[in-house]
Assembly symmetry: D2
Homo-oligomer: 138 residues x 4
């Protein structure tokens, strides 16, 4: 997908469907997190590595547009990119695709905080660099 | 809360927390739905009544801003209003409060569809009227 | 319900249903936890009070029999009792009822552990006494 | 693992953890379903194929023993076998393993029902045969 260089796949679980017969809209929020964690694993040594260095990433905003229904057992490709890293803050943008069709898109915003104090803390240089490299800006 | 006349309470379940020790951000999306259903029960005879009349309401957009963490067993008040009802489309706006503090806010957008064809269908007059009365515009 | 003196109600959320049009069977596991927490709040000062005293309760076993389907918006009464408290271990038994009909029943087993070491630790006397009183055995 | 010939892997999602810092015990119930669906895909053309032939499989019982905690991002191998197929009823047995250690085990019981009437219906011969072949009994 244009403008994205990373994707991860999820398969819709039966438990993620609802009585409308489709994937419940809250399931997408979980999948975005799955995609972020896959992204960090690929480019930055994993989310656990970040937590072990004393940083926690809070989610401060979620936005999703649902364009098509997703059904049980559908394989969805979640295109993911990290943008707007500045100080303690950063964003992810997503395009969720199934067989070439856009199913949903959205973004999430995050703040890095110190794991002990939960105070905002600058994203460390090693992580900012890893993300910049991933996004082809370094 | 200013501008809202309806609220419903949820209590954060242990299953809704995550390893950060706080309510997982996807849980809020479920609570907004709980609030919408309580709203429809109070003002429009319940969501099941709407479904039984052949209408399904799809969620087409979710937006949430997380301002403070919510913890296990916290009681959250979800202020809810229905806005911008036009044709097949309508929105809900939310303010999630705990003890006078704003914890999160957001909106969701929806489309009424025919339950058989899943084609957009005008929100029926009886439902539009019920919502207008609830929001003091009728 | 015979043999139970405590119950708590849950209402089936739309997010808890699945594409079979009924409450997903994993939702019941969450409701049992909601019932345990309500039980502890009523009889033992709440689960947070227990955690604050340095004890965590792990779930070591879950058993559920599903006798009837539960639907969206159904109000379920979860009859709950605490049994077999011995050393670090205790059990809960449940009967889930809707309008006089048994929908499901089951039990869960638990171990009290030290919150720091996660080693099994005797259920403290004050909590064992509170439970014995609740169950009419003290 | 002894006595099992099929397994599927899941990776613990952050949303599946709770404030004890470990995977919530209800998450395991969802993973068992993921394993059943992978099993049916491998041996019987997928769960959707079964539903399309007019059969729904209800879960009538769940039993899980939790022996070790599972943490965020752990990869768990779910060994799965189908047993005791008789008439409309069958069971699955599971062993959940991580790096050679048993994390949990359990079983689920199921009933095949007609998709329209929700009445119990004999598991069709083609499906019973597929399962018997999978389990090396045909």
């Amino acid at each position: 997908m244009d403008g994205f260089s990373f994707s991860t796949d999820v398969r819709v679980r039966f438990a993620e469907t609802d009585a409308q017969g489709i994937a419940h809209h809250a399931s997408f929020v979980v999948w975005l997190e799955v995609a972020r964690i896959a992204y960090l694993e690929t480019f930055a040594g994993g989310y656990e590595a970040i937590r072990e260095r004393g940083i926690e990433a809070l989610t401060t905003e979620v936005h999703l547009r649902y364009l098509r229904a997703a059904g049980f057992d559908d394989v969805l490709t979640i295109w993911t990119r990290c943008t707007d890293l500045r100080g303690a803050r950063f964003r992810y943008e997503y395009a969720i695709e199934r067989g070439g069709e856009l199913v949903a898109d959205g973004y999430t915003a995050h703040a890095a905080v110190d794991r002990e104090t939960y105070r905002p803390t600058r994203v460390p240089a090693w992580l900012a660099d890893a993300i910049a490299r991933a996004e082809g800006r370094a």
